[in-house]
Amino acid sequence: MLLTRTEGHARRETRQESRARQASGLAMALGLLAVVCVLSVAIGTRTIPVGTVWDALVHYAGTEDQSIVRELRVPRTLLGILTGVAFALSGAVIQAVTRNPLADTQILGVNAGAALFMVFAVGFLGRTEVGEYVWFGFGGVAVALVLVYLLGSAGRGGATPLRLTLAGVALGAVLDGISAGIRLVKPRAFDYLRFWDAGSIAGRPLDVALTILPFVVAGTVLAVLVARSLNAVSLGDDLARSLGANIMRTRLLALIAVMLLAGAATAAAGPIGFLGLMIPHLVRGFAGHDQRWIFAYTIVCGPILMLLADIVGRVVIRPGELPVGLVTAFVGAPVLIWWIRRAKVNG
């Protein structure tokens, strides 16, 4: 984001002030995350009092409510936190790298790529452990990202938001069609991946969360490390180069971060869209335009929204549950419409 000289001047004067505001906002968001975590453990088909939740965690006595907390709700909440961080942060990183405000792993067809590779792994190679097919998720994300970028930047003028989005939609449709075909040919893959399709964090054992934990942490660390260089990239390639940023290295590291985050999250929870689109837009109001602050806010706010959406999914159709991916789409799509209506589009 380019600032005019007066704005830049005004900003320098209030930098101390704005940093304090950013930090206090982040602290508040962390508090909110803690509250949402407690709610996520307590609310569900069977509502459990907070006192029982505390007992289950601190002095476990093996009652039914306590075992629900330990065996179901805590793994689910943990997985919600991890996938919330992963999907939201991967969206923020792609938005920063491509300078495309519409980037999201779902819209760009990246989730579809991960899904196709995993369907292949389950259907043809018989891999059914998350730890095994998560690697195929990484491969699918990388292939889809490269394909979308090549397709979107073909021809003169490079990759505009319009082209990338259209390329992503087309690619997503093709990849989804192929996965649907494989699933019909290989009933085992269909059966195994049925529950995973709409994007859900319900009913996964603690192992799943623990398996993806190292990948999400690695991806997050990598994203935070390149945040500074991404600030330079956001000024445009030429300016970034003159500021001494290594654009190729930054892009490559960012790509690896997205691969780790989106691949792991998709492997564990299925394709969940719109989180990566919404969160960076929502936090920009508090975090400003510094990618480091945007990423920090995204890391905290992603899980908040993911867990809230999951809680909503648990209560709207009791005793059934709506997969969290459907809830995020339902609340995320209006954000997309709002953005496109106020944007000036040409191209």
Partner: protein, 344 residues
């Protein structure tokens, strides 16, 4: 024959010129469609030589062959041809009305809205053809109107239309899933089969309504004559040429929606045929605007070839044809993107 503005054309009466190239292309496409139809009639678990297929169709031949060809395979083949033609026509109408190659029922969320309508109809009324058709028609139309209205801001920009279409589709996908989870198991299963977009297991009972609707709408289109091309010149030009713009546009819109709904009700959402058929036809015939007849023939070719592939690609597993058209159409969409960019 005479030469006019550098293009070869047959002049029947003064001012009525039928250009040669579209005519030849249409003829070739019809041949491809018919050849694929004969192939589809003769292949399957029981392979019947093409000669026997033709004999069975004309009424001779053995009883077993007649049963397989006429009763089992012919309805599906006819439905593929009719539905493909209807989708091609609908796509051509939408693209001409929006003056945008991306203006197709798939992009503006018609299919997914039709699914919502079908689900509601199945839950409240039951799963007959006409209940399904009405549900698909109302659901699809309402979705199209909402998407169009949300995308409207001093005119409809193609990009905005697509993005709003994606967003509304995502919302409706959630609604549909919610309805399925709320519905009884039997309703959910029949709705899920419908949503695949398949011609599997459809018999003569499904062919008749589609054929009747398509026939009636083609008559309406013939009655409207060349007004679609005139509308494509822009509102002012069309009005100056004596076309009542708003009324004509509405008439075409209704025809386009009805065509899509008739197909969608019978076979479920079959994506990308309406998007790609008019564009492919336009490229082959090298006409300037979107032409209806070549788009219809192209749609029929696309759908019957896709359906044959869906049946035989992974035999004995039968894919829904919707999956094949998505894969093929998506590749085409990507290609269109690249080509359009290079020219711009």
């Amino acid at each position: 024959m005479s030469f006019h503005s550098g293009r070869r054309a047959i002049v029947l009466r003064p001012f009525v010129r039928i250009p040669v190239r579209p005519l030849v292309v249409c003829g070739l496409l019809v041949l491809v469609a018919l050849a694929t139809a004969v192939l589809a009639l003769s292949t399957g678990e029981l392979t019947i030589p093409p000669g026997d297929v033709l004999r069975a169709l004309t009424g001779d031949g053995s009883g077993a062959y007649r049963l397989v060809v006429v009763e089992w395979r012919l309805p599906r083949v006819l439905l593929a041809l009719l539905a493909g033609a209807a989708l091609g026509l609908a796509g051509a109408i939408f693209q001409a009305l929006t003056r945008n190659p991306l203006g197709s029922p798939d992009v503006i969320g018609f299919n997914i809205g039709a699914y919502t309508g079908v689900l509601l109809a199945m839950i409240t009324v039951g799963a007959g053809y006409y209940a399904t058709a009405t549900g698909a028609l109302i659901g699809g139309l309402a979705t199209g109107v909402v998407v169009y209205a949300l995308a409207y801001r001093r005119g409809v920009h193609g990009f905005r239309l697509i993005i709003v279409g994606i967003a509304i589709s995502a919302v409706l996908a959630s609604v549909n899933q919610w309805l399925i989870l709320k519905a009884k198991l039997q309703v959910a299963v029949s709705a899920a089969i419908w949503d695949d977009g398949t011609l599997n297991g459809l018999g003569w009972a499904s062919v008749t309504p589609v054929a009747v609707v398509l026939g009636a709408l083609v008559v309406v289109l013939l009655g409207l004559g060349r007004r679609l091309a005139v509308l494509g010149m822009g509102d002012e030009a069309a009005a100056a040429l004596g076309v009542r713009v708003e009324r004509t546009r509405l008439a075409y819109l209704v025809v386009g929606v009805a065509l899509t709904a008739a197909v969608t009700a019978a076979a479920g959402p079959i994506s990308f045929v309406a998007l790609s058929a008019p564009q492919l036809a336009q490229r082959l015939t090298r006409t300037r605007g979107v032409a209806l007849a070549p788009a219809a023939v192209m749609g029929a070719v696309l759908l019957i070839v896709s359906d044959w592939l869906a049946q035989h690609l992974f035999a004995p597993t039968q894919l829904p044809v919707g999956i094949v058209t998505v894969a093929v159409g998506g590749v085409y969409f990507a290609w269109l993107l690249v080509v359009a960019r290079q020219r711009a």
